[in-house]
Amino acid sequence: MSTLTHLAATSPDQGRAHNPNAQGAPIKLRVEGLGKRYGNIDALHALDLDVRSGELLTLLGASGSGKTTLLQIISGLVAPSSGRIVIDGRDQTHAPAHQRDIGVVFQNYALFPHLTVSQNVGFALDMRGVSRAESRRRINEALAMVGLEAMHQRFPRELSGGQQQRVALARCFIYKPSLILMDEPLSALDRKLRETMQMEIKRLHRETGSTIIFVTHDQDEALALSDRICMMHNGRIEQIDTPQAMYERPSTVAVARFIGISNVLEGTVMQGDQLATADATVALPKGHGCQPGTPGALVIRPEHLNVVAADHGALRGTVVEAVYAGVETRIVVRLASGNLIVVRRLSGQAPLGIGSVVGLEWPAHPPHFLSV
């Protein structure tokens, strides 16, 4: 979350100190109308996507949303059913993977078990005919970058998971590929190590100025790492935005639900900026631009809600659960319609009994409106 507060203080573009003018940077990768069918399932529906040079873009989405498929098509390991891939202005749609100058970090690392750490890291240099002395120098450099100089003679299975991950990173960064693709590279690590490696990847990205597409299904990881997030759902792109924009102004209900815990109130837009939901009629922010009678939804962040007395507030419900999480306590309130609303409260406040009837309001922050 520290990224968030950091970003909130500045405009999104200034937030990326290492890459001050990403907006103006040349386009590294352009994906046009990219589709992929497996049998009669559409894994990808005609996607369009631009990635700028020096950017760290995450593909975020639930399992099965097509992230791996997209990444494999970009890397050249899978052929698309339709559409084009343009890297650095050159059409690479049909180029084999080994001619694309891309780097891939695989989910389970895919280190060569018969080669030592040095040989693994130097593999790409070998393929490019780099001289032996030059190769040795760059291997040492790459290993130093990930802090594994002492391990260069070991075999992959003699390393811990985190160390294997670092070898995989070094093997990828060493030949400075123009585009680096990472498919859930941290999902096999435990939480602590995952956070360390996230910092490491951010640092490598900053130091090398490389362009990275990073796949994850973990919204916290996406928020912490990305310059921009590309949210995928059922083979489609739902929204591409900065982490802050996506968190505060999700463009669809699916995005809102996926990014953090969000409360969604669905209903019908009424005269006078009102939304009629099953539980109550609530006020809409001004200028939502929707005709009365059309369906709409309000997205309310749990941290923006206050618990008040039962007969005050815009909504009313029963406390069904209270989850203690250190600094805050999460209260789950069931509305009359059965809709569950999550509220974040600082833990110091007076505890609420399960079963007590409470009112909810959102005084300071206008909720985010979505036309459905």
Partner: protein, 593 residues
């Protein structure tokens, strides 16, 4: 049993933690059996080879004769050369087939592998007999040559023919040994190499080939050792200059009664096999035989670097060649060539076996392919001959008895080994694998010597014991794999859910291991049903098994009755084989850990 093991481990003051002795006790019956019927008789044979039969004094005369030049030395060297050639051809011809199989989807691989497994389970006798018929002066190959305008050639009694038929016999073994290693190579590694800039040729030579080497080496070891002890092929298809050591043993013992000389040659065979194993162990580590990873190779700096260097050079070379080729022909995908090659090899493996079916129904008095007319008369002959029917029934009975004893010993031992981590377990494992290293002919001769003292020659029991020794390793390996794959936490889960130990066994363990048990049973039966050597020596000419009856007939006179007998063998083998495939545990059951 497992609980018992855990309790005793806890109760004892832990001198060496994790040593569960009680489970290891289960290997004792098998170990005793092998000590009595493999190690002890082999040791006796060694003594025989070192003693002068008349004076009883120690002497090395028999061994000095082997190395003195002349027929023995010639045979020794030709045995080595033929075995080496066979091994190399098996690997070079088998590797692409195994590679093709490994790249099929699991379902299709299982189907395609049937075509390799079927010839694997068909006896060497039947396969070599087929070539004897095909390659004869009036055989189908010469007919074809004649039709194409060539003069008929003498195809039999050539070194090349011997090697060809031995490769044909052992290629399925090589492929089935290489395949599991290839299946373990993750597809993602090639993809990783691809993204790192390696072309298809580079991916193969730098990543795939080195990772498949342990399988190649294991296949080479097993083929070479089996080939060293071969006598069926050189006897049927070879000339005088292609004699191999095993044939000399048969002559020395069965015809000349020269035990000292026969034993000395047998000792030479075993020594050769042991030296081969030793070299293999030094380079790859014996543990790779049972699917372990090759630690030895990785830490053996010189071998490893040489291997990687060769891979490197070949990768670059083939890369250049492939680029040149695709520039010349514009072809990008040569995958169909691999498939075509694989099917060609499969056809060569299968056709000789299936060709017996029409030949057995010939109406003529001579074996020929294709048959000039059809009739049932040779099956009639077979069914009316008390010799054939008697030997078939005996083989069946001996097979069932062998399979039962083997399964019992192997199950106990495999369970004991899978459940114990004692260092003694490694020794027991080696002992159970030893019958694979000692050629069957040596096992037979040494048991012949032992049984002569125990009046077990010319008894069914003698043959059953011999067959059990030979059948043990494979049944043991099958069962060990079953027990090692088995997730013992399932037993614990069942116990915590309230099942008593016997119910745990009936409801959980047994259903999950029964496929492996059945495979072990069928393996042992088939090996016994097709075994020739033991009956040759221990049957004493009285207790004739089906393979022995076929062997005698082939040497005496080749009649279509033999084809009828071969069809009987093939049908029984096929039936059991498909039954075994049917009961084989599905992949998801084995790997659901």
């Amino acid at each position: 049993m497992a609980e018992l093991a855990m309790q005793t481990a806890k109760a004892k003051p832990a001198r060496k933690p994790q040593v569960t002795w009680s489970a290891l006790w289960l290997v004792v019956p098998g170990v005793l059996f092998l000590v009595a019927f493999l190690l002890y008789p082999s040791f006796q044979l060694l003594l025989v080879s070192l003693k002068d039969p008349r004076t009883g004094a120690w002497t090395l005369t028999a061994f000095s004769k082997v190395f003195a030049g002349g027929v023995y030395t010639r045979t020794l060297s030709s045995t080595f050369i033929v075995a080496l050639q066979t091994t190399l051809w098996c690997i070079f011809a088998g590797y692409p087939l195994a590679y093709w199989l490994a790249r099929l989807s699991p379902r299709r691989q299982r189907m395609a592998a049937l075509f390799v497994l079927l010839p694997f389970w068909t006896s060497a006798l039947v396969k070599n007999f087929a070539w004897l018929v095909f390659l004869g002066r009036n055989g189908v190959i010469n007919d074809l040559l004649g039709a194409m305008g060539f003069t008929p050639a003498e195809l039999l009694f050539q070194r090349a023919t011997v090697v060809f038929a031995m490769v044909h016999t052992m290629l399925p073994l090589a492929v089935m040994v290489m395949l599991p290693t290839m299946n373990q190579i993750e597809r993602q590694l090639a993809q990783a190499a691809d993204t790192l800039g390696a072309s298809a040729a580079q991916q193969f030579w730098r990543v795939y080939l080195p990772l498949s080497m342990p399988g190649v080496a294991a296949a080479g070891l097993l083929v070479f050792i089996s080939a060293l002890g071969f006598f069926i092929t050189p006897t049927l298809l070879g000339g005088a200059r292609d004699t191999m050591l095993s044939q000399l043993i048969i002559v020395q013992i069965n015809q000349l009664q020269n035990w000292q000389m026969g034993a000395a040659i047998a000792v030479m065979l075993v020594l050769a096999a042991l030296v081969t194993c030793f070299i293999y162990d030094r380079t790859f580590g014996l543990s790779t035989l049972s699917g372990g990873s090759s630690d030895r190779l990785q830490h053996n700096g010189l071998m490893r670097r040489a291997g990687l260097g060769i891979g490197c050079a070949m990768g670059n070379l083939c890369d250049a060649l492939a680029r040149g080729y695709s520039r010349l022909s514009g072809a990008r995908n040569a995958g169909w060539m691999l498939a075509a090659y694989a099917w060609l090899i499969i056809a060569v493996l299968i056709v000789p076996i299936l060709a017996f079916i029409p030949m057995a129904f010939t109406g003529s008095d001579f074996l020929s392919f294709p048959p000039p007319s059809l009739s049932f008369k040779w099956f009639g002959q077979y069914l009316q001959s008390p010799l054939w029917v008697g030997s078939t029934l005996r083989s069946f009975g001996i097979g069932v008895a062998t399979a039962s004893i083997t399964l019992l010993l192997a199950t106990l031992a495999a369970f004991g080994l899978a459940r114990s981590r004692s260092r003694l377990g490694g020794l027991a494992f080696l002992l159970f694998m030893t019958p694979m290293i000692v050629p069957p002919i040596v096992i037979s001769v040494s048991l012949f010597y032992l049984f002569a003292q125990m009046s077990l020659v010319a008894t069914n029991l003698g043959i059953i014991i011999g067959h059990t020794v030979i059948a043990l390793p494979m049944a043991f390996v099958v069962l060990l794999a079953t027990f090692k794959h088995y997730d013992w936490r399932l037993d614990q889960a069942a116990a915590t859910l309230g099942a008593a130990p016997w119910r745990v066994f009936i409801k959980v363990t047994l259903p999950l291991i029964k496929g492996g048990m059945f495979a072990g049973l069928v393996t042992a039966f088939l090996q016994s049903f097709e075994e020739l050597t033991v009956a040759m020596f221990i049957g004493g000419g009285v207790k004739t098994t089906l393979p022995k009856q076929m062997w005698d007939d082939i040497l005496l006179q080749v009649t279509p009755t033999l084809a009828a007998a071969s069809v009987v063998v093939v049908v029984i083998v096929c039936a059991l084989f498909f039954l075994m495939e049917y009961f084989r545990p599905a992949e998801h059951q084995v790997s659901a850990s």
